[in-house]
């Protein structure tokens, strides 16, 4: 996006224009200087609205549950922003993002904004810029942010780092295949859900999960195990009560502060890394071939080369930046 367009789009965004909000999300998702300009302008508008992560294996009913949760909060007149992330195909770079299929009831509700994202080469279930797209939704005035990601037991900590409360969803059908993923998924969970409780095996699964939780060292917060039928709404009240309880725990224990503290820290480092890298690419790329020759000729080592280039970068007048 061009700079003049950014200013216009920001003005429209602050006036509540949904098309502008969507465009800013695209700018943020595509990264680079435009993304940074947008995020900087939005930063003062961040409200600290609760962020709920919903993760778990494919097909367990996450999207259906997100739909039910969003409708519950709409009933309480809260505006809900949803980011639904699905994997990019490593072979083609394309993706089919199908979470909206389960959220059709929300499709025309002006109090709901749903954005689908592809992971675009990011290894976790989260896209690299999911958090930033959620920032845009938050600055747009949503009272609750929900992030749906696919989780199979390895990278859920990503979402735990972005959400205040992480709900891990399983279903009786995922029974056996769950074994391998269980440790990772359970570590990420603040609340555990056994969805499709209308299917056989749900009770057994709840018991197993509770037994597993029992084996863990005592902690201030033990994830409750909730049974739901997302497609009918059964158990939804229990789920929202558990999420609320976790939020109260977070606030009361100071954990929320700590999590947000850690998040800001990560954010600063990420911006710094981005900026340094962009500057290095701009200012140093031309010098790499020369140093390569010197290293090959035995006049330098990769280490002296890197040190010299870094020194040149730091000595540059920072006012020159941009």
């Amino acid at each position: 996006m061009l700079e003049t367009h950014i200013d216009q789009t920001l003005t429209a965004f602050f006036a509540g224009d949904r098309r502008a909000a969507a465009r800013l999300m695209t700018a943020v998702e595509n990264g680079g200087p435009a993304a940074e300009a947008v995020l900087e302008a939005l930063y003062p508008k961040l409200t600290g609205a609760p962020r709920l992560g919903v993760t778990g294996p494919p097909g367990v009913g996450k999207s259906t549950l997100v739909d039910a949760l969003a409708r519950h909060h709409r009933g309480l007149d809260r505006r809900v922003g949803v980011v639904a992330v699905d994997p990019t195909s490593p072979f083609t770079g394309g993706a089919v993002l199908g979470d909206r299929v389960r959220m059709n009831d929300l499709a025309t509700d002006p109090g709901v904004f749903i954005r689908s994202m592809a992971t675009r080469g990011s290894l976790g279930g989260l896209a690299r810029t999911s958090k930033e797209v959620v920032d845009v939704l938050e600055a747009f005035g949503h009272d609750l942010l929900i992030i749906e990601t696919v989780g199979v037991g390895q990278t859920e900590m990503d979402i735990a780092g972005t959400a205040d409360t992480t709900v891990v969803v399983l279903s009786p059908e995922s029974g056996d295949s769950i074994q391998a993923m269980k440790a990772g998924l359970m570590e990420a969970a603040d609340v555990l859900v056994v969805n499709k409780a209308d299917r056989p095996g749900a009770d057994q699964m709840v018991r197993t999960l509770e037994a597993d939780l029992h084996m863990r060292p005592a902690a201030d917060w033990t994830p409750p195990v909730i049974r739901t039928v997302a497609s009918s709404g059964d158990g939804l009240a229990d789920l929202t009560a558990a999420v609320d309880a976790h939020h109260r725990y977070l606030t009361g224990s100071g954990d929320l502060e700590r999590r947000r503290h850690a998040r800001v820290r990560v954010e600063i480092l990420a911006v710094l890394r981005d900026r340094l890298w962009r500057r290095a690419q701009r200012d140093l790329t031309d010098h790499v071939p020369g140093w390569t020759e010197k290293v090959l000729a035995g006049e330098a080592t990769p280490y002296t080369a890197a040190r010299a280039m870094l020194a040149a970068l730091i000595d540059d007048d920072p006012e020159d930046d941009e």
Binding site: M25, N30, G93, R100, V101, S116
Partner: protein, 139 residues
């Protein structure tokens, strides 16, 4: 910049299945595009609103019911109303030549009959979105 092309694929109307739409969705994915798939029985309002929220480059509508002369113009009108006038609206179904011409005059893009190959559809969307992006950048 070489950012991914985003396409909304939807099945409008009350009839039938979405096999055709799914085939197209997969073909677009295999061509490296990000496809937002919304499923069956989409109303024009749902389609236009989703297209705006997802900031897609193109909307691909599949419909069989013969309601094309109401649905395409209505989606187009809603897209314009919501500020999405730059979004390409294309699609397919059993649409007669005369109707195709009229819809194209109203601003709908190329429309594909039941015999069209996914290859044709993919190529068209890639080229047309590329052309529009180019225009935008030069404006």
């Amino acid at each position: 910049m070489d950012r991914a092309i985003r396409v909304l694929v939807a099945k409008a109307g009350l009839d039938g299945h979405d096999r055709g739409a799914k085939v197209v969705a997969r073909a677009l994915r295999d061509a490296g595009m990000e496809v937002i798939y919304t499923g069956l029985r989409q109303s024009p309002e749902m389609i236009a609103e989703a297209a705006v929220q997802e900031d897609v480059d193109a909307v691909g509508l599949s419909l069989l019911s013969g309601a094309h002369m109401t649905i395409f113009p209505e989606v187009l009108r809603l897209l314009r109303e919501k500020g999405g006038d730059d979004i390409l609206l294309t699609g397919g179904g059993c649409i007669g030549d005369e109707d195709m011409v009229e819809l194209r005059e109203q601003g709908v893009g190329e429309l594909f009959g039941p015999g069209a190959s996914t290859r044709e559809i993919v190529d068209y969307i890639r080229d047309e979105v590329g052309r529009r992006r180019q225009l935008q950048e030069n404006s």
